[in-house]
């Protein structure tokens, strides 16, 4: 993977649309991927190369269906087809001294298809219940 010599930049809210497009493309082409983390919970890991700088990112774990106080809960009437994640560049290349990543992605909510465990993973989880 070739890397791009681009400077650190913290995104603006207006960057969300373009970042969503870049992440969608990266997920389609497989440079970004979401994989089950294993275990009994709905844990997943987002990993791959940053759509902006092209450097390998640190794996970013996230969890589905988190229990929160009901006032914080989402107003949903049907099954959720997409989830909101952050895709934050966490590469180790130096874009700004003392800061990890090229700065992009922080604070931008990106909608991705809700990941589902493969049948084998699901069986393994139920067996552990």
């Amino acid at each position: 993977m070739t890397t791009k010599p681009i400077p650190y930049r913290f995104p603006r809210p207006a960057d969300a649309e373009g970042w969503q497009r870049d992440v969608n493309l990266a997920l389609q082409t497989g440079t970004l991927a979401i994989t089950p983390a294993g275990g009994a919970r709905e844990d997943y890991i987002l990993g791959g190369t940053c759509p902006r700088c092209g450097h390998e990112m640190e794996p970013q774990p996230f969890e589905l269906d988190v229990l929160v106080p009901d006032m914080l809960g989402e107003r949903r009437t049907s099954a959720v087809a997409t989830i909101d994640v952050e895709v934050v560049c966490s590469c180790r290349a130096t874009h700004k001294d003392g800061v990890r990543g090229c700065g992009f992605g922080k604070g931008l909510l990106i909608a991705i298809a809700r990941p589902t465990a493969s049948p084998a993973d699901a069986e393994g989880r139920h067996a552990g219940d």
Binding site: F62, V66, P69, D70, L72, G73, E74, E86, L108
Partner: protein, 200 residues
């Protein structure tokens, strides 16, 4: 205010991480709040039943007794609504799922939560003020209200040699004590105080 955007997002990320790691505590806290709310609701009637400590309802004159009944009912309802709303404004009473949680998402949800809780607080305050006004005014009403005269003349069942009679206690012109016209003299075996006499 945070010095940089990185610091601002760092705060929300830390809060989101804390929530993800403390799901059990979230459920426990909701259960505790619900238990406290239940106890408050169960104790409400005792707190607002102003006719009882001062003058019992059955001693109030009509129609004041009905007015006090209506005021007590309204006070209980207003206090119940106020208690539930203020408890909800003080902290969530249940738990819900969020499909995913991260700093920006939590910031968004928290802003919405603050608006919801502010609405609950306004409505709860109104209901609590109404309940307090009803209890205070009702208590003053009962405090200054006249009580009804003692109940109708006592009635007695008298068993005498020739049978039994039931009626009011009275005194004849001659100074003889009678019940239903039967003088309480030697031929009377039993005199019983009764709530009422059978209809003829």
């Amino acid at each position: 205010m945070p010095a940089t955007e990185e610091e601002e997002w760092g705060y929300w990320d830390a809060q989101a991480t804390r929530l993800v790691r403390t799901e059990v505590e979230t459920v426990n806290a909701s259960a505790t709040r619900l238990a406290a709310l239940t106890a408050s609701l169960l104790g409400l009637f005792g707190a607002v039943a102003f006719a009882g400590g001062l003058t019992t309802l059955d001693k109030l004159t009509s129609p004041l007794d009905d007015v006090v009944r209506v005021m007590t009912t309204a006070a209980v309802l207003a206090a119940a609504v106020g208690t539930v709303l203020l408890a909800a404004a003080a902290g969530s009473l249940g738990v819900k799922n969020v499909s995913s949680l991260n700093g920006p998402k939590l910031k968004e949800l928290s802003q919405e939560q603050a608006r919801k809780q502010r609405r609950l607080l306004s409505k709860g305050r109104l209901a609590a003020a109404l309940a307090a006004a009803l209890v205070i005014s009702g208590s003053l009403l009962v405090l200054w209200a006249g009580t009804s005269p003692p109940s109708a003349a006592s009635r007695y069942l008298v068993v005498h040699d020739d049978g039994a009679a039931c009626g009011e206690l009275a005194t004849t012109a001659e100074g003889e004590v009678v019940v239903a016209g039967i003088p309480l003299t030697g031929d009377v075996h039993t005199v019983l105080s009764v709530a009422s006499c059978p209809e003829p």
